[in-house]
């Protein structure tokens, strides 16, 4: 809501009239802040411009540095110490795909389930339900590297003991983005008007039937957007993966529970730390590749949000 002059009809007239009356009485308009207002507007726009130029600058830098390696080899060749000029990211791309596959499989049931529970089934007066809510909000703010320590202690070693494999990386990243999915799904469920649920109940359906058949499909687009955004974040995470063994040189496609694995952001970090110039360029080209993928995914999510956004 930004401008009172947009009020329609009688309210608008009333407000405008009141304003004029007051101005007339005090014989002044709020011109004191005229120049200040213009400056303020300029300042705000400047802030936006700075923020957006940062995005452009990152893209421009990556393009300028990495443009010589934007070839098919980048995607289809694996890492190579020997054949540096044609080394690529194929293995890391596959590793990232596997990790994301696992992440999706985990976060959809866990995230949607938890959101449904908290919004539709939990008795909000019970202390343990409030504790669960608080807990999720806190988890959303835990640093990603702490999740790396968790992954190392519980998935690589400890109770699961999968070792330094893609599954460990996948589970670690899934837990990292889970709170975001839960929060986004909750928002999506909250946006569905209660009348939908109540109408269904009034017709004799059970609570679960109402939720499953009415509320969930209505909230689905919002939840899906949340999942996609979580996936987009998961693709870019390097820090926790460093700790569960992604910093490995792998020249073949990883299998989920065996062998070493790599991931796109980690391989970029790996290449950036090597002396040979070919690798520095490769790192920038990798950044470009990641940004391209992420822009596609985010655009898809935005399109989804816009297309299926319902006004109730």
């Amino acid at each position: 809501m930004s401008d009172s002059s947009r009020l329609k009809g009688r309210s608008g007239l009333a407000v405008a009239g009141a304003g004029l009356a007051v101005q007339n009485h005090f014989k002044s308009k709020d011109t004191k802040g005229r120049t200040a207002s213009i400056l303020f507007l300029a300042l705000m726009l400047l802030a936006l411009v700075v923020a957006i130029s940062a995005i452009v600058a990152v893209l421009a830098w990556a393009f300028f540095e990495g443009r010589t390696r934007l070839d098919a080899d980048l995607i289809f060749n694996g890492p190579s110490t020997v054949k540096r000029a044609t080394a690529g990211y194929s293995v890391a791309i596959l590793g990232t795909l596997q990790i994301i596959g696992g992440v999706i499989v985990l976060i959809i049931p866990l995230g949607v389930g938890a959101a449904l529970y908290l919004e539709q089934f939990a008795d909000k007066t019970k202390w343990w339900n409030r504790a669960i809510e608080l807990n999720i909000q806190n988890l959303a703010g835990v640093p990603s590297i702490v999740f790396g320590i968790l992954g190392l202690a519980f998935f690589v070693r400890g109770p699961f003991s999968w070792g330094l494999v893609a599954a460990s990386g996948s589970a670690t990243v899934a837990l990292l983005v889970l709170p975001t999915v839960i929060l986004a799904s909750r928002e999506a469920i909250k946006a569905v008007p209660p009348s939908i649920l109540e109408g269904s109940l009034a017709l004799g359906a059970t609570r679960w039937q109402s939720v499953w058949l009415q509320v969930l499909p209505a909230a689905a687009p919002g939840m899906l957007t949340g999942v996609i955004l979580a996936v987009s974040r998961a693709i870019g995470e390097a820090a926790p993966l460093l700790l569960v063994g992604a910093l490995t040189f792998v020249t073949f496609a990883p299998s989920f529970f065996e062998g070493g694995f790599s991931a796109l952001p980690v391989l970029i970090y790996n290449y950036a730390g090597r002396p040979q110039e070919e690798f520095q360029i490769l790192a920038a080209a990798g950044v470009l590749l990641m940004l391209a993928v992420l822009i596609v995914i985010n655009s898809f999510a935005i399109w989804l949000r816009a297309r299926y956004e319902k006004s109730w």
């Binding site: 709020d30 940062a54 600058a57 830098w61 389930g113 202690a153």
Partner: protein, 315 residues
């Protein structure tokens, strides 16, 4: 069994009749509860992973030294385990980040919430989110290879030292938390009831006055929550500081023009480094990790409290 008229008329509603006990639903309820409880399990696991090695560790090194000494030199010949140098590193990054992100974020939020026409708002919000969505390894490389030389070129009279700069790392981290601060502040401002604005407009106030004197103060706790959340995110950032702030000297250093190691960078480099796992030096990552966890937990709870207070006033 008594049947209502409705159920006689419609087959569908007969199928939906809920007077029979449905055990399947109880199972589903249990399943849903478990999915929610997973989050509790995750937190428990984190706490165990971080705190379990600590009793053993603090028999080898002094916990008093950990919290009071001002030199952090594990792995050196005469190691001192005082955590303050890396805490200071984190602090400098966070403060610089907030100095950058608060003006940029808040101004953007005011514009989006109070000034922007709907179409503009709908385009700009997702664009800002891109800034947040850029992988931090990319932002880190950008900041190291371009931003830092560029800033040095602009300001050669500043005492730039060495290759790393904690200040530049702070600026980069600041840039990525702008969308967070902007969107939380924007949400807070948009939740302020229309009536407050309209009252002000009715009294003849201009847009800037309404935004700055009415909306922002009204949304104040929500905005503070945004700042605290942004700061918490900055505390937890790893890749950017790893690449740009590097590792500094073991003693206390407050100079943003030099490299200083942050808590997160320490954990990442120690865990991927050459020191033997299980040694005292390696186990320091758990102590630092636990400290990090407690700090971000505290900040998040603070932010939640601010949001609650904000909601209480208006809802």
């Amino acid at each position: 069994m008594s049947s209502t008229v409705m159920s006689e008329r419609s087959d569908r509603t007969r199928a939906l009749r809920s007077d029979k006990p449905r055990y399947g639903e109880k199972v589903i309820f249990g399943f849903l509860f478990i999915t929610a409880a997973v989050s509790v399990a995750v937190t428990t696991a984190i706490v165990i992973a971080l705190f379990q090695p600590l009793p053993g560790l603090f028999q080898e090194i002094s916990i008093v030294e950990f919290f009071t000494a001002t030199e952090w030199s594990p792995g050196f010949l005469k190691p001192v385990y005082g955590v303050w140098p890396i805490v200071v590193g984190t602090l400098i990054v966070v403060i610089t980040a907030l100095i950058v992100a608060i003006p940029l974020g808040l101004l953007s939020a005011i514009y989006l919430s109070e000034y922007a026409p709907n179409a503009v708002r709908k385009t700009i919000k997702p664009v800002l989110e891109i800034l947040e969505g850029i992988p931090t390894v990319a932002t880190g490389l950008f900041a190291f290879f371009w931003l830092r030389p560029f800033l040095e070129y602009l300001t050669p009279w500043l005492p730039w030292g060495g290759l790393f700069s904690t200040g530049v790392a702070g600026i980069a981290v600041g840039l990525i938390i702008v969308p967070l601060i902007a969107s939380v502040s924007d949400d807070a401002m948009r939740s302020v009831p229309r009536s407050l604005r309209e009252g002000a407009y009715a009294l003849g106030a201009g847009k800037m006055r309404v935004a700055l004197r009415v909306v922002v103060p009204a949304a104040f706790s929500g905005i503070i929550a945004a700042f605290v959340l942004g700061a918490s995110r900055a505390v937890g950032e790893t890749m950017i500081v790893l690449l740009v702030a590097g590792a500094g000297s073991p003693s206390l250093n407050f100079n943003p023009f030099e490299g200083i190691q942050t808590m997160t960078a320490y954990i990442a480099s120690r865990a991927t480094g050459e020191i033997a796992v299980g040694s005292v030096v390696y186990d320091t990552i758990f102590a630092v990790g636990a400290l990090l966890f407690v700090i971000t937990l505290g900040m998040n709870m603070l932010a939640i409290r601010f949001v609650k207070r904000f909601r209480e006033v208006y809802e």
